[in-house]
């Protein structure tokens, strides 16, 4: 992964010192809460229902074992022995005390981590492909571009007070694991006819109360012109984005109001004014590329006899391999996805002991590399096939060997009303009930890929709009109800789900999902996914079945 230089380290250490002083001034009464709140938010510190929540940046979802162990230590020392991985590849602690936060930031700074730009109306942490540098599918390593964007956007004076928060995703593989089309800017690395690298630029996607799949405003932007173009987009947004209405302030509203063509024209005009001077010099990009620690792969046979024999002898390992392993670009290696969706547990939560165990595995077997996915799982991107049986056994020992990646129990859920001050309804127990309903692994595999995503309010941290089945918690006169949407996707075939019908009460949701699955199994053809069947049949058969049961 990227190695911090002296300048990076100084910035983070300075920020930590500055926040310690700000906390001191707040506790002494020199700063009011209104004055302090934006300062604490700039350091990822929110006040939630039971305590403060600290959101820690995991830039493009990339961690090493030292950093993961530090997160485990913070969880054990300052929280309740666990942390929550989020849909933006970050980590949140939910039981943080204001008085401890300066010490926690110091601990993070020791391992080149921080909570900068995890809140506020700035350019947030860049989302990238959790399989970067490992997948056979990619055209380039998107972490290099993500890191360049991180450096460019960090504490950027012009873009620290945008009309609203701003999220960028970048992927270099045709299979999109970043939800790029529902980000403020989605960048998809493409290769031009002449072999040059470039980006498809998608602007104005988003979720929340006004969901949009973003339109493409440039089919092919030469890679070396990326930064001037990003600057032009941000300038047009900064100038014309609505600051008068919180709910209309995201760039998606501006793009929709102007139309993609007119927005693109204004960006092009601004871009021409900025010119190539706004671009990153090739030497700087080369420096960043070089600052990623090299991964040393061995020359291995494509098939591991050790692994094949272990799989043949252990059906549980065979199931894990079917669902949680992905093809690696190097023969003899595999990508191992670790599900944080053990049935009965909280989606995205990992205990400090589990974090330590994953750190140990990364260090011993995985080139010291760990990734966080936006679907709230972890990834060991470089595992030798020979080592998979041992890695699996060690994951089993700490309760992290669930073989359900991309299956119905691999549910995204925001913290919901159990923790969040903005939520209308709980999300976690709904996820747990659904996971219990489909705990039978044979059945889950027979159902195949089915992405359920749950948000406890319209802000959509649980990405419900892009769930194959989306679940949105709403407050009806103080009671928890849930609206179901069908047909969403956050992947390369992105779409916003359509509402199924009237909201259901809390205790009817899992049964309704069961009904939807029954309809799918009845209707599906030729190995269709749930999403494919829905797109073919439309909503009617699903709607009829759910509301026939409800009445």
């Amino acid at each position: 992964m990227y190695q911090y230089d002296t300048l990076d380290k100084e910035i983070v250490a300075d920020r930590s010192r500055e926040f310690r002083e700000q906390v001191g001034r707040r506790l002494a009464g020199e700063l009011s809460e209104d004055q302090f709140k934006p300062l604490r938010l700039m350091n990822g510190l929110y006040l939630q229902l039971h305590a403060y929540m600290l959101r820690i940046a995991v830039p493009y979802g990339s961690l090493n074992s030292r950093q993961m162990r530090k997160l485990a230590y913070i969880g054990r020392t300052y929280d309740r022995g666990y942390g929550h991985f989020t849909t933006r590849q970050n980590l949140q602690f939910h039981w943080i005390k204001l008085r401890d936060t300066p010490d926690i930031l110091d601990h993070l700074a020791e391992v080149d981590m921080h909570a900068i730009q995890t809140s506020g109306n700035c350019i947030r942490n860049v989302t990238s492909d959790p399989y970067a540098g490992a997948t056979v599918e990619e055209l380039d390593d998107p972490r290099v571009w993500s890191e360049a964007i991180r450096q460019w956007s960090s504490l950027h004076p012009e873009f620290s007070f945008l009309p609203r928060k701003f999220k960028i995703a970048i992927t270099a593989a045709p299979k999109d694991r970043t939800a790029a089309k529902v980000h403020d800017i989605g960048l998809m690395i493409r290769r031009g006819r002449d072999g040059q690298l470039g980006f498809e630029v998608i602007v104005g996607g988003g979720l929340g109360r006004t969901p949009y799949v973003g339109p493409t405003i440039t089919e092919f932007l030469p890679a070396n012109r990326l930064f001037s173009y990003l600057e032009a987009i941000l300038r047009v947004y900064n100038r014309h984005g609505r600051r008068d209405n919180l709910y209309k302030a995201r760039i998606k509203i501006l793009v929709a109001a102007l139309g993609a063509e007119e927005f693109a024209r204004q960006v092009a005009e601004e871009w021409a004014k900025i010119g190539p001077e706004g671009d990153l010099p090739d030497t700087e990009l080369a420096r960043i590329r070089g600052a990623f620690a090299k991964t040393a792969f061995e020359a291995l046979p494509a098939v591991s006899e050790t692994f094949e024999a272990a799989k043949a002898a252990d059906p549980a390992l065979a199931r894990f391999s079917r669902n949680n392993l992905r093809e690696h670009k190097k023969p003899g290696y595999t990508i191992v996805e670790i599900s944080l969706k053990t049935v009965g547990e909280t989606p995205g939560d990992a205990t400090s002991d589990q974090m330590d165990a994953v750190a140990d595995l990364a260090e011993r077997y995985g080139q010291d590399d760990i990734r966080v996915t936006h679907e709230q799982n972890l990834v060991l991107p470089h595992i030798r096939l020979d080592d998979v049986p041992e890695v699996f056994a060690r994951l089993q020992a700490v309760g992290l060997a669930s073989a359900n990646v991309n299956l119905i129990s691999d549910i995204i859920a925001c913290p919901g009303l159990d923790y969040c001050a903005l939520a209308n309804a709980r999300a976690i127990p709904v996820a747990q009930q659904i996971a219990q309903t489909f705990a039978d692994q044979e059945k889950a595999e027979a159902i195949g890929e089915l992405k359920i995503k749950i948000s406890g309010c319209i802000n959509a941290c649980g990405h419900h709009h892009v769930g194959h089945i989306g679940i949105l918690g709403v407050d009806k006169k103080g009671e928890e109800f849930y609206q179901l949407t069908l047909g969403g996707s956050g992947a390369e075939d992105a779409s916003v789900g359509k509402m199924l019908g009237p909201a259901l009460p809390y205790d009817k949701v899992a049964a309704a999902i069961d009904t939807l699955v029954e309809v799918y199994l009845r209707e599906r053809q030729d190995g269709e996914r749930f999403l494919d069947t829905y797109r073919r049949t439309g909503v009617e058969p699903f709607k009829e079945a759910v509301y026939a049961d409800a009445h």
Binding site: L49, H50, Y52, L417
Partner: protein, 119 residues
Amino acid sequence: MKALTANRLIDGDVVFWKAGKWVERFADADLFDDAAAAELAEGQAKSQPTVVIDPYLIDLMESDGLWAPLSYRERIRALGPTNHPTHGKQAEGGEMIEALMHADGAARSSGRVNLIKRK
């Protein structure tokens, strides 16, 4: 009937007003059946900005013969998260915790609306 609640500045913990000070258990909170007394206490609470954040009054209802917050959100604040029964104030158990867990009233929380407006 009303109670006065806030989050404590230094640690974010949920606290309740009791005779000019803040206590951690809802069971120990002052209960106001007089609107003027409740508003007076709220005013005093707002003059403690280095002790608490965002004090606000919550509506109560009867449950198991005791008073419990009417809104579900406020009951979660007074108890802790439902996915971790050993976290938060519910871990301590007791008669009042039981009453809060059994309460089934429903209303929007007035405090939540104010917090969102402050965003």
